[in-house]
């Protein structure tokens, strides 16, 4: 008897993706979006600690930063920028396809986004390897194979590894999130009426791209 009543209640409330504590889909959607934007605001503040450290230390030791930046390959960094911008495009297109209910397109765009993310990590691996080979390591492992390294150059590289490392962790997490959304899409969870998780995952990925848009000129283009 109880289960029949339960089934009646579910049937009256709405589609299965509409959670019981929301009256309408638009209410659920707007709450989800607000929650995501709050999270993104937190992510900005999360990175701001390192960015403020960068700003103040660079003001104190501009020559060390110029010398440190010269050790980085701006074309590899530029390639990484292009890769992430492409991934942002495909993420936005995945959301658009989800809004149109086109499941296969969503799958394709998400795969390309994830491949770009892997490509980013591969390029990053080659960059880090160069740093390791030249002894440009963070903290106590600093042993540069350079003739006239300015005094505080190790601080630049400390910030370089922290900033790109934290960003890289976010890229890896993004691969996980996008992969999970790809699986959900594959399972048929999304439709023209409900594509919110795709939207939210893409918003996270765009933030990862945003951080890199600033990291690239700050670290590579001094």
């Amino acid at each position: 008897m109880a289960s029949v009543e339960q089934a009646h209640e579910d049937a009256h409330h709405g589609p299965k993706w509409l959670q019981h504590h929301f009256d309408t889909p638009i209410q659920q959607f707007e709450s989800a979006k607000l929650g995501m934007w709050l999270f993104l605001a937190q992510e900005i503040l999360f990175f701001s600690g390192l960015f403020v450290a960068y700003g103040l230390v660079r003001l104190s030791f501009p020559d060390a930063f110029a010398a440190g930046s010269a050790q980085l390959n701006r074309y590899m960094g530029g390639l990484n920028t292009v890769v992430l911008l492409l991934s942002s495009l495909t993420a936005a297109l995945a959301v658009r396809s989800a809004q149109l209910g086109k499941k296969d397109e969503v799958s394709r765009y998400l795969i390309i986004t994830i491949l770009c993310a892997f490509g980013f990590m591969v390029i990053k691996f080659f960059e880090y390897r160069l740093k390791f080979e030249h002894g440009l390591l963070p903290g106590t492992y600093w042993h540069p194979h350079l003739a006239n390294a300015p005094d505080h150059m190790h601080v630049f590289f400390g910030l370089y590894f922290m900033l790109t490392g934290l960003h890289g962790v976010h890229v890896v997490i993004g691969i996980g999130v996008l992969g999970w959304i790809w699986m959900r899409n594959n399972r048929g969870d999304f439709s023209k009426e409900y594509w919110t998780p795709v939207d939210l995952a893409a918003l996270y990925w765009h933030l990862v791209d945003l951080v890199w848009i600033y990291l690239f000129p700050l670290l590579y283009l001094i």
């Binding site: 889909p25 607000l34 993104l40 503040l45 074309y75 911008l85 495009l89 658009r96 765009h206 000129p217």
Partner: protein, 218 residues
């Protein structure tokens, strides 16, 4: 449901469903190409030493114009991504308020910390003098006990920070403000204090170096 709620302000039927304006693929491609071009521009601009051209003799990478140009391009790229890829333009303004608010607070963080760091090496007329823990020499910015710096009664020098709790406890008598109990075990502290006094008279340059070294260590 009354008639005036049939449509929302932007013309969508108010049936509780989610209605979004779906953009053309061309828009996303257009934004992407703009971002590509801006990336190329910013890389090329970084190869040109504008500061060295305007103010000859500026060491490469230490001037402000190249930096500001790179930041302006980056901000424009970021605005494109936020407005169009992240759909903030089509979203409720409330979400934009939160996001921009976080930028405001990050800005407050930077300005406040910057101001504090910038004035770190200056003398503070209100607080008095503070002592470098390992050398005992005076550094600007003060620590006061009973309204005066904590002094070592043997040498008359300002007490190093790591000795403060021994030399000047808060329960000091009001009759002898700023001075406190003596101990043979702290004669080393007294010697450090004496060295500190001499070093301080040697020049402010040492204090500046000490403070500058403290900065990257943190």
């Amino acid at each position: 449901m009354s008639n005036e709620h049939q449509h929302t302000h932007d013309g969508h039927p108010n049936d509780g469903a989610v209605h979004v304006h779906i953009h053309d693929v061309k828009l996303y491609l257009g934004i992407f190409f703009a971002l590509m071009i801006l990336t190329i521009v910013t890389v090329l601009a970084s190869l040109v030493d504008i500061d060295g051209f305007i103010r000859p003799g500026t060491p490469h990478g230490t001037g402000g114009i190249n930096f500001l140009l790179a930041m302006a391009i980056a901000t424009f790229k970021a605005t494109c991504v936020i407005t169009w890829f992240m759909h903030l333009k089509d979203d409720t303004r409330f979400n934009a308020l939160f996001f921009l608010g976080s930028l405001v607070f990050a800005g407050v963080f930077f300005v406040y910390t910057g101001n504090d760091t910038y004035y770190r090496q200056r003398e503070d007329s209100i607080q008095g003098q503070y002592v470098h823990p390992s050398t005992g020499e005076r550094a600007p910015g003060g620590l006061l006990v009973n309204g005066q710096p904590c002094m070592n009664p043997n040498t008359g020098a300002v007490v190093p920070a790591y000795c403060l709790s021994y030399y000047c406890s808060p329960t000091d008598s009001a009759e002898a403000p700023g001075t406190c109990q003596d101990s043979p075990a702290h004669e080393e502290g007294a010697e450090h204090g004496a060295h500190g006094e001499a070093a301080h008279e040697g020049g402010e340059a040492a204090a500046h170096e000490g403070a500058a070294e403290a900065a990257p260590a943190h």
